[in-house]
Symmetry: C2
């Protein structure tokens, strides 16, 4: 089954476009976990067990594992999802981008070492840096287009031949990079009108939408501008708003409640 088939199935099965970002910061974990051998894995595991029927994807952010010397706990986390909830796709958020021979190694990292269903990539270096990932036809390749952060304007809003750089990315993704029908785009929830303009360029392509919750994106506007004809089409990520909903030993139940609240807000506004 391809990533897109898996995504379509879970959107409908769980009636959810919520993606939980697994970005565990050791300094923010509940005290009750801090003395464990694998505190990050245990934190993730309890959140996964508490939310698996409410989400369409999990998205571990590579930096939190690389920066805290916890690559093993990233692997344990992805393995745990695959073994216990194989219907839920895993998006490894790495935002890689490098020349072809190097990108081959990064593709090994994402798809062999961690066995992720999908990966995020940076488009700045062009298609030959994407190809080693695109050629894995059963995996999803999610390319940065319009990112959620304030300074995304510096390059992404430059206008060339009547189109912004991020619109050029969307058109390249649609017309040139999607030859295996496995491309998605990242569009920040903090720019809902631009989400709408990219949706008009790419009517059927799924978008990963970070930036609701801690970054302030408006769910209602995201849905108005971003859903596809069938009412789905979005992977709406929340990390901090869900995983740090409570800092006590009740964190997992609180993450379930925060996930359910976001899912309901989305479904009421579709």
């Amino acid at each position: 089954m391809t990533f897109l088939e898996k995504l379509n199935n879970i959107w409908k099965k769980n009636d959810s476009m919520v993606c939980v970002g697994l970005d565990p910061d050791l300094t923010k974990l509940p005290e009750c976990l801090k003395s464990l051998e694998f505190p990050i894995f245990e934190f993730n595991k309890q959140i996964i067990d508490a939310t698996h029927d409410l989400v369409c994807a999990y998205k571990p952010q590579s930096a939190y594992y690389a920066g805290q010397n916890a690559d093993d706990q990233l692997k344990m986390t992805v393995d745990y999802i695959r073994e216990n909830y194989p219907e839920i796709p895993v998006i490894l958020d790495v935002k890689r981008g490098d020349i072809g021979s190097t990108a081959q190694m990064y593709a090994l990292e994402a798809f062999e070492r961690y066995q992720a269903d999908s990966v995020t990539l940076n488009p700045y270096m062009g298609v030959d840096t994407l190809k080693p990932f695109l050629d894995h036809t059963d995996r999803g390749v999610i390319i940065l287009c319009r990112t959620s952060n304030p300074s995304s304007c510096e390059l992404q809003e430059l206008v060339c031949d009547g189109k912004t750089v991020f619109e050029h990315v969307a058109v390249l993704a649609r017309d040139k990079w999607n030859y295996n029908n496995n491309v998605l785009l990242v569009i920040g929830a903090t720019f809902p009108e631009e989400l709408g303009s990219i949706r008009r360029l790419c009517p059927e392509m799924p978008f990963l939408v970070p930036g609701v919750g801690a970054q302030g994106g408006d769910v209602k506007k995201v849905l108005e501008n971003g859903t596809t004809a069938d009412g789905f089409g979005l992977i709406i990520n929340s990390s901090r708003g869900i995983i740090y909903a409570d800092s006590t030993e009740n964190f997992a139940q609180a993450s379930r409640e925060a996930t359910m609240k976001l899912r309901n807000t989305i479904n009421e506004n579709k």
Copy 2:
């Protein structure tokens, strides 16, 4: 000592602008190393010992370690350089780029976990994704500008307000991002004329220049277009041309000869 001071010192001490890219592919290592417990580290170590008086930097490419489950051997490699050849700066080639809170974690990875002197970054998301690195005033921040690969044209050559996207990156790097005087740019050797145009925009900024050797860049043209007023200003990287100069047990001596040859070619054409 800052990264730039360290770089200025070693350029002159070793009279060399050669950077050796440590991109070890397990399938290409000499047979004599393949049965060792840490074949990648041993390969790197012997190359480092054979070339340390001929180089201005070492640049391990993160993907080769991440893709081959060898993070520990990356750490051993950087530690080995720091302990034995502390005058030689280490550039960790990771090309990261992510929102501020995530970039903080990637900065931990590069500067604390691996204790690199310098790191490569992707500019697509703008300054708030660079800041956690820039704020390490003693470290170097090497930002992708005009990359060496064929498809770098797709986005980097788009023209906005009379300047290409890569020229916008150079101007942003010069005028906005370099507030701690620790920014460098990546300019591929495969585009020597564009290297010249960026040198005119940024007369004093050091450039990391990949793409000589296996990728076909012309050393003479790189020097004509890229050196600064003092005859230095470049970190000219070769990876495959040096580390795979010989596939037998003589690989280290061969890497020395290839490094010396590149250094001499550079110095004869300065």
